[in-house]
């Protein structure tokens, strides 16, 4: 056992390859900025919310205007099937 661990002591230090630094810098610069990602997500969420609200209010208006039109129309204007 003692000799086994002594073998481990003989492990030599190794210099990392020169290309490693460039690899690290490339991957750092390739990565998108986290703040930009958050800002984009917030913008999309805001856009969806605004769209939902406008769609809902458009539907409400449409319904109420139709209702008003039918109620206000004179009896003569109603068309029946023959």
């Amino acid at each position: 056992m003692k000799t086994s661990l002594e073998v481990l002591n003989k492990t030599q230090r190794v210099t990392p390859p020169d290309a490693l630094y460039n690899k690290i810098m490339e991957s750092i610069s390739d990565r998108a900025d986290i703040k930009l990602i958050y800002a984009s997500v917030i913008c999309i969420a805001l856009l969806i919310t605004i769209n939902l609200f406008s769609f809902r209010s458009y539907n409400d208006n449409e319904f109420s205007s139709n209702k008003k039109y039918y109620l206000d129309s004179p009896i003569n204007y109603l068309v029946y099937e023959y």
């Binding site: 073998v7 002591n9 190794v14 490693l20 690290i24």
Partner: protein
């Protein structure tokens, strides 16, 4: 940005050997160590501005490298197990779930075979046993520093190392029997 780059370059030059060799001593594979070192420096680059200097920067780098190495080995082992169990349709218990694919450039040729067997057994040890052996025996760090890195007392390091050695001895004997 230029200053940031220069600072990081200096930082990299100062700690590249520490990170690379520590990762190499965990994985015993040059390519894996490169991948871990890359991951460690990316994390350091992102988190350096938030470092609170409550501990030494070197201790912090040691901890990041150890955690990344253990995570890497764990995920590699899981991937290998999944692949093999899919391939063979059953779980083989011995031998095939090793994460270590031996390619350690720091090991002399005449010791290669015995070190390879030790690494095979080291891979089967619990993480804290493996860490204490790597730091004390392979990295050759003093007990005090190991205690600081592992965030335990010196006495705890001593007893952990004793238990780790016993377990490793058991595993090595089993390996010889096979």
């Amino acid at each position: 940005m230029i200053n940031e780059k220069v600072d990081f370059k200096n930082f990299y030059e100062k700690y590249k050997e520490l990170v690379f060799n520590l990762a190499l001593n965990y994985t015993a594979n040059k390519e894996d160590a490169e991948e871990i070192a890359q991951d460690v420096f990316e994390t350091v680059f992102k988190k350096l501005e938030f470092f609170r200097y409550e501990s030494k920067i070197e201790t912090w780098i040691y901890r990041i490298t150890i955690n990344k190495s253990l995570d890497y080995l764990r995920s590699k082992k899981r991937l290998k197990n999944k692949f093999l169990s899919n391939l063979l349709f059953f779980n083989n218990k011995d031998g095939i779930n090793e994460a270590v694919n031996f390619n350690h450039p720091g090991v002399e040729f005449e010791n290669k075979e015995s070190v390879q067997i030790i690494y095979k057994c080291l891979d089967k040890l619990p993480n804290n046993y493996k860490t204490v052996i790597v730091l004390l025996k392979i990295e050759g760090e003093p007990q005090k520093k190991v205690a600081e890195i592992m965030n335990i007392s010196e006495k705890a390091v001593e007893s952990l190392f004793f238990r780790a050695k016993l377990k490793l001895k058991d595993l090595l004997e089993n390996e010889k029997d096979i």
